[in-house]
């Protein structure tokens, strides 16, 4: 299996996988803390509408996905801020609207759209320019997470306390949604729309079962994402299955194992 390491396409896949894992793992910490699992999934599905509309208009699909994902994220933050609708409910409405618009747009598209690749990703076809874009966007998201870590953490564990401490709670809510949107779009190539939402939830869920303190929780989330993505890649070439699916199946197995370990620890 190690002969794959010599192939440039596999080296690019490993590098893209590592960047995606660090990004999704770090964000998964906040997704699980703020119970935004459905929001991550919703934004990913909304990106589908963006890709379809962009294809119809002849602009880069990634740009369409980003614009629609950010629009849905902004509308979700605005609705939950001004009308008291929960973020989950708001994103549920905007997501189906964006997907429906995408289906309508696809009806007018004359060229072929790689729907399978869009849904499940194709990490083994990541190009050098894809990797550069991923690294650039990833660096920006990570820089924002590091710079705003303290207010984001406080808002995530206690919004009222954060408001009293003078933290702009609405802006922090929006920031998390924007970072999720950017991450979803850059991770599309790696794991696809259907699976990126799982990559935003599973690492944090695994880490939460392991550590009750934030440093361990955060490090565990990034570590679990790296094991999922890199382990899933090697698994896919070892047993010849789709890499996106192997990444998520490995994550699901790790999650079950973490629950069993926690249960064994509490019983013991």
């Amino acid at each position: 299996m190690t002969e794959f390491l010599a192939y440039p396409f596999f080296q690019r896949a490993l590098a893209a996988g590592a960047v995606t894992a660090v990004l999704c793992g770090a964000l998964s910490f906040f997704v699980v803390l703020r119970r935004l699992a459905f929001v991550g999934s919703g934004v990913a599905h909304a990106a589908f509408g963006g890709v379809a509309i962009a294809t119809l208009l002849g602009v880069p699909p990634g740009l369409g996905a980003l614009v629609v994902a950010l629009t849905v994220a902004g509308a979700t933050a605005r609705a939950s801020e001004s009308s008291g609708v929960t973020e989950d409910a708001a994103v549920g409405v905007f997501t189906v609207a964006a997907m429906a618009a995408g289906v309508v747009a696809l009806g007018f598209v004359k060229t072929n759209v790689d729907l399978f690749g869009l849904m499940f990703g194709n990490i083994l076809t990541v190009s050098g320019s894809d990797l550069g874009l991923l690294a650039g966007a990833g660096a920006a998201v990570l820089a924002a997470l590091v710079f705003f870590f303290r207010p984001l953490l406080l808002v995530s564990v206690d919004e009222e306390g954060a408001a009293a401490a003078g933290v702009p709670v609405g802006a922090m809510r929006l920031l998390v949604l924007v970072l999720i949107s950017v991450t979803v779009v850059v991770a599309l190539k790696v794991v696809g729309i259907l699976l990126v939402s799982a990559l935003l939830v599973l690492p944090g869920a695994i880490a939460r079962a392991i550590s009750a303190r934030w440093p361990g929780f955060l490090a565990g989330s990034v570590g679990a994402a790296l094991v999922m993505v890199l382990g899933g890649l090697f698994l896919s070439v070892a047993v010849d299955i789709a890499p996106g699916a192997s990444i998520i199946l490995l994550g699901a197995a790790l999650f079950v194992a973490s629950l069993v370990a926690v249960r064994a620890r509490s019983v013991g």
Binding site: L33, V146, F147, F148, R150, P151, L153, L154, V157, D158, E159, E160, G161, A162, A163, A164, A165, G166, V167, V169, R208, S211, A212, R213, W214, G216, F217
Partner: protein, 223 residues
């Protein structure tokens, strides 16, 4: 400098139903004010407006100095009625108080923050061994002491306590009364929601909140 709060014409509606209507009042600097009233009367809603956690449908909140001149929003120490902390929140009491003291964006941090937080936790009477434990693994009374420590940490000019005696045992109540007395003596403005205006050792002013706000004479025995 002592900072007071003035609120004028506050209106809040939830689902079209008025919770507060034309609520107006002034909480003078350096005094102890009790907000009393029936359940559902709008006491917690009013304090959420005062701390900036809830934007009212109408009206405004201003912070004033001893001469009545408006000043910028001061640091506010806040203890909520029900803990809004998730039991799964992966922070210890020390983390929580430290974050509340210094939640600015950026890479640098004040080195004294952890010591300030630890000192507030000691003052609130949290046992030493519980200081670094995740808040989800503390008892209700211990968690209330963490929230009290967060409210008083860093010597905020205004202290807003929403039913602070919840879940506290007799020793905890004694600590709470002592802390409130010390804060008032240090010139801080203390506002607390209570069903018993004598609970925190009496009040200089009492406001009854029941959709509107009406000032009542304080109980003379406890004033």
């Amino acid at each position: 400098m002592s900072v007071g709060i003035r609120f004028e014409g506050i209106e809040v509606r939830f689902g079209g139903l008025p919770v507060l209507a034309a609520a107006t009042g002034a909480l003078p600097p350096g005094e102890r004010t009790a907000l009393v009233g029936p359940n559902g009367g709008g006491k917690t809603t009013l304090v959420r407006v005062l701390i900036g956690a809830l934007v009212p449908d109408a009206g405004r909140v201003a912070f004033v100095d001893g001469t009545g001149r408006e000043v910028p929003r001061p640091r506010i120490g806040y203890l909520s009625q029900r803990s809004t902390l998730s039991p799964l929140a992966p922070v210890s009491g020390l983390d929580l108080v430290s974050l509340s003291l210094d939640a600015r964006p950026g890479l640098g941090r004040r080195l004294a923050v952890r010591e300030e937080a630890a000192s507030a936790l000691r003052r609130a009477g949290l046992p030493e061994e519980a200081v670094s434990r995740p808040v989800g693994r503390l008892s209700g009374g211990q968690r209330q002491r963490v929230l009290l420590a967060r409210a008083i940490a860093g010597a905020p000019e205004v202290l807003v306590l929403d039913e602070p005696d919840t879940a506290l045992d007799a020793e905890g109540l004694k600590t709470l009364r002592r802390i409130v007395a010390e804060e008032v003596a240090a010139g801080r403005t203390v506002v607390y929601v209570t069903h018993d205006s004598a609970a925190m050792g009496g009040a200089d002013r009492v406001f009854r909140v029941d959709r509107s706000v009406v000032e009542e004479p304080p109980d003379e025995e406890n004033a």
